[in-house]
């Protein structure tokens, strides 16, 4: 398989893996949580790296997952004190954790390949060089990691589809059925965190946000059914991945940046052509 095909494959895997939990994020009004988590996983990654001394260890994913969940918990704690609104809580927690991560890198790991640029921006173009032998075949490590994460995400959503659906649309009803919305909530946040860390060295954390939010937002304009919204998001995610890659090739620019741009372009196209049955109906023109 050529490098170009491999990059596109990884990009598609990342896009679909991000789009699935993203659907629930935007339906639950938690889109900014993807931004918070994708930044706040940095200290988890750095601490796991400082302990294991290895950049490709599974502990990094675990560390990132934990600090993602920690972010969610901290925001929750701040919110329940009643001293801060939720958006202010988010806006305080994640820059603090991110700064902590950056300072840790600067002080303890200055000489390693773990710089903030890589975390924020990623470089998909290098992904095919980092290879792994699986079943006697050499495959890019990022592809393996993202495929596993995609399977986990898809499995979680399939297994708990009913529960997720109900707790998303009617949390009170869900808890009266004994579905424990907070367990699902943290489960979903753990998915978002692991997806973010899996994607971070391939595409960087900002693209994670774009891929988690833009395709589901476009799908949200196209349908009112949860199941078809998931399918549409995945499809739009694939288009973003492939289209973004070719735009990057054309302009000789960053693949992650081009994919985010493509996500914006596709959203605008959908916005222009989507059935406008509900646009403006709730609030009228101000």
């Amino acid at each position: 398989m050529s490098a170009s095909l491999e990059i596109q494959l990884i990009a598609v895997l990342v896009a679909v893996a991000c789009a699935l939990p993203g659907v629930f994020l935007i339906l639950r009004g938690m889109a900014m949580m993807s931004d918070a988590i994708s930044h706040a996983i940095l200290p988890g990654i750095v601490i796991a790296f400082l302990i294991t001394g290895n950049l490709s260890s599974g502990w990094l994913i675990l560390g990132a997952g934990l600090s993602g969940v920690l972010t969610v918990a901290l925001v929750e704690v701040l919110r329940t004190t009643g001293l801060l609104k939720e958006d202010a809580a988010i806006g305080i927690v994640f820059p603090a954790l991110f700064s902590f991560g950056v300072v840790l890198i600067a002080v303890f790991a200055d000489d390693v390949h773990l710089d903030t640029d890589a975390v924020l921006l990623g470089e998909l173009a290098f992904a095919p060089f980092d290879r792994h032998v699986i079943l006697g075949r050499e495959v890019p490590r990022a592809a393996v990691v993202m495929a596993i994460i995609l399977v986990i995400n898809a499995a979680f959503i399939t297994l708990f589809y009913k529960e997720l659906k109900m707790s998303t649309f009617d949390a009170a009803l869900a808890s009266s059925f004994g579905f424990a919305p907070s367990v699902l909530h943290y489960g979903l946040m753990a998915l978002v965190s692991t997806t973010a860390v899996g994607a971070f060295d391939a595409v960087g954390s900002i693209l994670v946000v774009a891929l988690m939010v833009a395709p589901p937002a476009a799908a949200y304009l196209l349908t009112r059914r949860l199941s078809s919204m998931l399918v549409w998001s995945a499809l739009i995610g694939c288009l973003v991945a492939v289209g973004g890659y070719w735009m990057a090739r054309l302009l000789d620019a960053s693949i992650a940046g081009s994919m985010a741009t493509m996500a914006g372009i596709l959203f605008v196209i959908v916005l222009a052509f989507a059935p406008s049955r509900s646009s403006g109906s709730r609030r009228g023109r101000a």
């Binding site: 931004d35 820059p95 900002i206």
Partner: protein, 374 residues
Amino acid sequence: MMDAISTLFSDYTVRTVALGATLLGITAGALGCFAMLRRQSLLGDAISHAALPGIAIAFLITGSKSPLVLVLGAGLAGWFGTFLITGLTRRTRITHDTALAMLLSVFFGFGLMLLTFIQRRPDANQAGLDSFLFGQAAALMQRDIQVMFGIGCVVLLLMTLFWKEFKLISFDAEAAHTLGLPVRALDHLLTALFVSAIVIGLQTVGVVLMSAMIIAPAAAARQWTDRLWVMMGLAAFFGAVSGVGGVLSSGLVPHLPTGPVIVLFISAIVVFSLLFAPNRGLAFRMMRQWRSGQQFRVDAVLVDMYTLASQHETVDHPHSEQVLNAMSGNARRTLHLLETLGLAQRIDDEHWGLTESGTERARGLVEKRWGEGP
């Protein structure tokens, strides 16, 4: 330590950078208060990310890296970004948080694409553009400070001029409308000021951490006061202190990046304020709860003893501790407290009776609760 700090301050670069960080702290802190009141805390995050393509486009068009040009580009892009967010939220099904997240990531990605596109062009004169990504306080120069100072002054001046109007549209937009104020125009002006405060900070702390400079000082200041102008002064002060603190500690400790340290400083101030601010702070709240719980237990035991005594001839009739325990939970500790307060006295090992003042107080409580006592 003091020596090191005074040497640092005599250093020209450090002085410049510290001045820049102070300016940034003051403007962002003050404007952040309005953002927080208007529930727009995360808008700052979106604006700072949305500014990136503006910087790239300004450079592509003019080929100049003059701070004024770049800041202007950043400001226009940031303003356009807020315009899009408002439009998306009002005109489509897309919710506000989705619009924010989408705008910030797509604009940032677009900016990144432009930056890499610029960098790979042969006529590269672009070095330094990426300092906007993470901020390079150490690279601040005299002309950057001049731009920051100029814009900062205009922002603060306009804020003072329209103080009453801004206050009104932040607290009660309906009332402002009824009074005949041009609410939308004022809204645009405040947003423009907000955007300006953000773009002048980008070079110091970078796109990612700028949102903290907006939210955190305001959030900390909010805990100490209920008055807007005090809150604003405090926020500006906290912002300035963490700016200087960040610059100094990154000057003292090698490798320490300025922007993140500034953010850690201001976060520490937030945590301290949440815990220890008088009235609102968590420590005060816990103490208040503990006190009122204690008050409640004291009163309960007093009333119990008084009611029991009314069944007997004398008000200081001794009651066994076990009976009191049965009536209001664990009375033992409360009884000792009553003794220290002089409201009850120990008769013997097992028995307690009310004192004169205890009876007085209990009668008062009973009368307050049930009218005439038994």
